[in-house]
């Protein structure tokens, strides 16, 4: 039972009253901010990052887990009550969740979503507990070339899977990598792109960038989107789902957990794909598919379970390979780095206490979410009825003052405003901020590993292909990069061929 000992030790840490309290606070505040219309989990976590400063690492991580789960569930609440999905992965929840709310069964929808999220999350964590050490063991032999190749592939995958223009997502990612080079070069000590500014000499911090792009950028964007906000229902009754509802959705919860877990491991939008897949699967399996879209409980249970299972299993690539699979994970990566935890294969072996602390804090966050969400629904409904005009300056001020408290520096606040404006403009011009933040987080790691590899390989770029794992990863990279071009070429040729045959027929 050697394997289980550190797991159990981890629980001992997590269950300390102090840590439980911070987790509770995290869930609560995560839900409070996450429930604000227009602020999805990434924005919520970004805004709340300063909260985790100044507390000791394990406690901070536990609080983060609470914020993470709270923020996820906050998006579900707005989906069900306002028909406003907090993020892509809860879009399908809107269909049946809002219809249930309209029938006066908002409580049932929220309750089922909470229970489903809990079960999906728990199964995800159990899978993570057993799978993560295995993957990490495999990755232990990775050297700088493998890491460099892996980071490149991860960034490329996230950029190409995002919605919208792929070229623009790649430009954003490249900017993220470029931004990460600002400051003193670790290898030579030379100052890069600092323009003589002392504040820039230490490089740009991750937190103001994330708070600006995800947090303030969204707030500014919402200033002109406000007209979309709908009114919350006056009252949410019967929050506990009935036995019949539970029975009806138990199958959907079971299937959603498994589906979500496996799809979530894939990089880029795992949670979104899995919630869509779960909804489609439930609709297909149903005896009477026409109930879907009109308030079917399974239509909430399936996707909500799946997206939470996926959100949890997307921690696997983060914790074992050190590669965040999506924008939210990039935030968690940055937050862990700040706490002195570098996610990667060495984490399980060298810092088992931290690794299992992170994993077990998820159990606690998940359980607290279940306990808190159902009784607190009434409060969230009240918050939703506060006018957006009053909430907007409050969230903006929280972000700005919060940014100041990180380092007691006005420079950080300036950065938040600058990146907030950039984030807004990026959204307007069709650039996803996600790939930028993800690339920024991985930037220094990627550059360091690339340069180390070049030293090891004596400047021979072909050497990357001489090592089986880095060669495989780079081949994958090329395939992913080139595939869309081939696809569009093929499509064009097909269209041209069709035109040709049409013309020859006409001539004949």
């Amino acid at each position: 039972m050697d394997f289980l000992q550190p797991v159990l030790d981890g629980f001992g840490v997590v269950l300390a009253p102090n840590n439980l309290l911070y987790c509770l606070l995290g869930v609560l505040i995560g839900m409070l901010i996450g429930v604000l219309p227009g602020l999805g989990p990434a924005a919520t976590i970004a805004i709340l990052l300063p909260l985790t400063y100044g507390i000791e690492p394990v406690t901070a991580i536990i609080m983060l887990a609470g914020i993470f789960y709270g923020a996820q569930y906050g998006g579900t609440i707005t989906s069900v009550l306002l028909r406003l999905p907090g993020e892509a992965s809860s879009v399908v929840t809107v269909f049946d969740g809002y219809m249930l709310a309209k029938k006066g069964k908002a409580g049932t929808a929220l309750g089922i979503a909470a229970i489903g999220s809990f079960i999906g999350g728990t199964i995800g964590i159990i899978g993570l507990t057993f799978l993560a050490p295995v993957v990490a063991g495999f990755a232990l032999d990775f050297g700088p070339p493998e890491y460099a190749a892996l980071a490149l592939l991860g960034i490329l995958l996230v950029a190409t899977i995002s919605n919208g223009s792929k070229t623009k997502a790649l430009i954003a990612a490249a900017f993220g990598l470029l931004l990460a080079t600002v400051g003193r070069d670790v290898f030579t000590g030379a100052e890069r792109f600092t323009f003589g500014n002392l504040d820039l000499a230490d490089g740009i911090d991750f937190v103001p960038v994330a708070m600006g792009l995800f947090g303030l950028g969204e707030i500014l964007y919402n200033l002109e989107e406000r007209h979309r906000a709908a009114k919350a229902p006056a009252k949410v009754a019967n929050v506990w789902p009935s036995r019949a509802d539970l029975k009806q959705s138990s199958g959907a919860i079971g299937r959603g957990s498994v589906l979500g877990f496996f799809l979530g491991i894939l990089p880029g939008g795992g949670a979104t794909i899995s919630s869509l897949a779960a909804y489609a699967m439930e609709k297909k399996r149903a005896k009477d598919p026409s109930r879907f879209g009109k308030g079917a409980v399974e239509g909430v249970a399936g996707p909500e379970t799946a997206n939470n299972a996926a959100a949890t299993s997307s921690f696997i690539p983060l914790l074992t390979l050190g590669i965040p699979a999506n924008a939210t994970m990039a935030l968690m990566f940055g937050a862990l780095l700040i706490q002195g935890v570098t996610p990667g294969p060495q984490l399980v072996d060298q810092h088992p206490d931290l690794f299992w602390g992170v994993v077990n804090s998820m159990y606690i966050g998940n359980i607290l979410l279940l306990i808190m969400s159902i009784p607190l629904v009434g409060i969230f409904v009240k918050i939703l009825r506060v006018r957006a005009a009053i909430l907007a300056p409050i969230t903006a001020l929280i972000t700005m003052l919060g940014a100041y408290t990180i380092n007691n520096s006005m420079f950080d606040v300036v950065l938040v405003v600058v990146f907030g404006i950039i984030g807004y403009l990026m959204k307007k011009f069709g650039f996803e901020p996600g790939p930028l933040v993800l690339a920024f987080v991985l930037g220094s790691l990627l550059e360091a590993n690339l340069r180390r590899s070049l030293l090891v390989l004596n400047g021979d770029l072909g050497g990357f292909f001489g090592r089986p794992i880095s060669a495989t990863l780079l081949v994958l990279f090329v395939v992913v990069a080139v595939w869309p071009m081939i696809q569009s070429l093929l499509a064009r040729r097909k269209a041209a061929a069709a035109v040709d045959t049409f013309k020859t027929k006409e001539n004949a």
Partner: protein
């Protein structure tokens, strides 16, 4: 509800009983129109110019050789990628169709951003209270269309709450007047 919201909100009522397909279609229709060719040109041109500037600055840092890379090598490669992709985007997106058009409501954002810059400029000089109060008031009254009374009342309450939390409660060193 506030004035701006009343002006622009879609008529409620019949859209309440939509099927998922209809709802998706409605979202599609409600979504702001995509940016046109000019927006694409501007975005791609900015990316290209920034990439080119990055290349020039990286060259000044020195590139070195692959076996002995200088600090400028990696930023140079990234700037090159940005420049190439920016030029590609000029062509790929020449018909527009990505992002969102600016609307009349975008002025609200410009105004909002200006108040944020004002807050940053004033905070070190006169503390956070007065600038925050002004920001709250402007956002509530002019950007949000609240009434004078509620804008004044809520602004004061919000700033008092922030003072209580950040200064009295947490004891942070945020520049403050009182």
């Amino acid at each position: 509800m506030n004035e701006t919201a009343n002006m622009t909100s879609v008529p409620a009522g019949p859209d309440e009983d939509l099927t998922p397909e209809q709802l998706a279609a409605q979202w599609e229709a409600e979504a702001p129109p995509a940016g046109g060719p000019i927006a694409n040109f501007a975005a791609a041109a900015v990316a290209t110019v920034l990439g080119a500037a990055g290349m020039v600055l990286s060259l000044q840092l020195g590139l070195g050789t692959p076996s002995q890379p200088q600090p400028g090598l990696w930023p140079f490669v990234m700037s090159l990628v940005i420049t190439v992709l920016g030029l590609a985007q000029l062509i790929i997106g020449r018909k527009g169709g990505e992002g969102e058009k600016f609307s009349k409501l975008s002025w609200l954002v410009l105004f909002g951003a200006a108040t944020l810059i004002g807050l940053v400029a004033l905070m070190p000089v006169i503390g956070f209270e007065i600038p925050s109060l002004l920001l709250c008031f402007v956002w509530m009254k002019f950007l949000g269309g609240e009434s004078w009374r509620s804008a004044v009342l809520y602004s004061v309450l919000v700033v008092a709450a922030f003072y209580g939390i950040f200064i009295l409660g947490l004891g942070t060193t945020i520049p403050h007047l009182f």
